[in-house]
């Protein structure tokens, strides 16, 4: 299999390396220096950096602008796009704008509901859903067509991804749902943060039984816990998150000042365990406002140095 785009992420995955991605959240203001600093902290330890799109529905600097900045810094961005805020005209237009800057990775999401964010009285769009956005990306790239049927002069070349949450309900459709995303054109998957490793391994087994791991690159998502409080918050408050009691207990079982290190240890152990699991093509390390710890995690997990691809 050969890479079909200029995406470094795709090239690394196609070459059979375990890929490493991470994410950075744009700022709540017009100064780009902080996100540039965050990206520079991890630039040598990851293959690509996701830029979130108004995550948790809080208004921020736009994902596309930050992706362009990263690209100009010589980094590899993954443009996250949610269907909550833009209709099909805006989404297609942004895809072309991204292509014009050589951005080659796109992650198609529906986005958190706006009631969680800073504009709960706002309208949501959802002209398309995440699967339909995937179909749109593939239509534009593979057939050179707009949704309206017109031809694209110079079609974009995008490596298209989607999210998967093996821990959301109902569990019985978690594998069929992945199959559906693959059918819609997902070429890579970044999963929800994994704390319940057993459940994730069970899901991966079922994914492999259906042969889906041969059709899509699956990057296992991990987030280091900073404290026992964060573990409890994620367990009880974040929809679709599965933090088992033993993880909360382990975090709570060490003195507060040692909890960040314990969280890093758990994260590294999770990656090491999952490296051996069939069907996993890489890791997506979401260190929320804790980017400086990504190099340590990558190095301790034996994922450094990163492979070079041309």
């Amino acid at each position: 299999m050969n890479a079909k785009t200029n995406s470094r992420l795709e090239k690394i995955l196609v070459a059979g390396h375990k890929a490493v991605t991470s994410e950075c959240g744009p700022p709540r203001g017009g100064d780009p220096s902080h996100i540039e600093e965050k990206a520079n902290l991890i630039r040598n330890h990851v293959d690509a950096i996701n830029i979130t799109d108004n995550q948790t529905s809080v208004t921020r600097m736009c994902s596309l602008a930050v992706c362009i900045r990263l690209k100009l810094m010589g980094l590899e961005p993954v443009l996250q796009m949610v269907t909550r805020d833009r209709n099909r005209i805006a989404l297609q237009s942004d895809i072309l704008g991204a292509a014009s800057y050589g951005i080659s990775n796109i992650l198609c999401l529906s986005g958190d509901h706006q009631s969680f964010g800073d504009c709960p009285t706002g309208q949501n769009v959802h002209d398309l859903d995440s699967m339909q956005l995937l179909q749109t990306v593939r239509l534009m790239c593979d057939e050179g067509k707009f949704l309206g049927g017109g031809d694209i002069d110079s079609p974009p070349k995008m490596f298209s991804g989607a999210a998967a949450n093996p821990f959301a309900d109902p569990y019985k459709i978690r594998v069929p749902r992945l199959a559906k995303k693959v059918a819609c054109g997902a070429q890579f998957i970044q999963t929800q943060c994994i704390y319940n490793v057993e459940k994730f391994i069970d899901w991966m087994g079922k994914v492999c039984d259906r042969g889906l791991h041969e059709k899509v690159f699956i990057l296992a998502g991990v987030t280091p816990l900073k404290s026992a409080g964060m573990a409890r918050y994620m367990k009880n408050r974040v929809p679709g998150m599965d933090v088992p009691d033993d993880v909360v207990k382990r975090m709570a079982g060490v003195p507060k000042e040692n909890q960040p290190q314990e969280g890093i240890d758990i994260c590294v152990e999770t990656i090491e365990r999952l490296k051996e699991v069939k069907g996993i093509s890489g890791f997506h390390i979401m260190a929320i406002e804790w980017e400086e710890k990504v190099p340590e995690i990558v190095e301790r997990a034996g994922l450094y140095p990163r492979p070079q691809v041309s």
Partner: protein, 222 residues
């Protein structure tokens, strides 16, 4: 049916201030079922407003009345006199009825006494829930008879999203996840494999997005 909720009395009072002759006007079909805008509710609201007028010493006359439906010409005959009498008609119909009065009586002020909420059903006495948004192109045959457009907070056509937890929506633990309901029903019908059919990009031109809609019936049918 169309479901509405009476506006707060303070808002109504403010709205009618400045008019001398007010007709509080019920609509005895949809909004009577939810006990918000029927002829009985018009009578009660008119009494409350008269009490308020007395308390505040306002120079205002308030009558009440009502008809079966405020969205069709033929029902208005019986109310002709009281509408002629009024300066302003405080309609307790849905937004359709308020606009119908405004269009039918250009010299009268039509005021909304209700907030029109949704098209819904009576799940249990006192519990009405939204179940249709009139998108103009029904997909219920693809979704096990449960509408994700009106019942999913993100109107996701290929759900559920990652926020579905224990059968409930991420925005509210009291709210059923529409896609959980769809899946449960598909399973009960022995048709869970249909879940993997992708629902294609929707044509929203039949919905509000396409501009105000109109249905013209041929003469024989009407």
């Amino acid at each position: 049916m169309i479901v509405g909720k009476q506006k707060p009395i303070d808002d109504i009072w403010e709205m009618i201030s400045g008019y001398q002759k007010i007709l509080v006007f019920g609509c005895n079909t949809c909004v009577a079922v939810c006990h918000q805008g029927g002829n009985k509710e018009a009578e009660i609201l008119a009494s409350l407003l008269r009490m308020r007028a007395t308390q505040e010493g306002a120079d205002i006359q308030i009558k009440d009345g009502g008809i079966e439906r405020q969205c069709e010409h033929e029902f208005f005959e019986s109310a002709k006199g009281s509408i002629q009498w009024a300066d302003a008609v405080l309609s307790l119909a849905c937004g359709v009825g308020v606009q119908f009065i405004a269009g039918k009586y250009p010299a009268k002020v039509a005021l909304p006494g209700l907030d029109t909420l949704f098209m819904g059903d009576v799940q249990a006495p006192g519990l009405l829930t939204e179940s249709c948004q009139g998108c103009g192109k029904c997909i219920l045959h693809l979704t096990a008879g449960i509408c994700p457009i009106s019942r999913c907070a993100k109107r996701i056509m290929n759900g559920p999203c990652g926020g579905s937890t224990k059968g409930k929506c991420e925005i509210n633990k009291e709210l059923d996840c529409a896609w959980q309901l769809i899946l449960d029903r598909l399973e009960a019908l022995g048709r869970l494999d249909e879940y993997e059919r992708v629902i294609p990009v929707k044509d929203w031109s039949t919905e509000r997005a396409g501009g105000p809609r109109k249905l013209v019936m041929d003469k024989e049918a009407s």
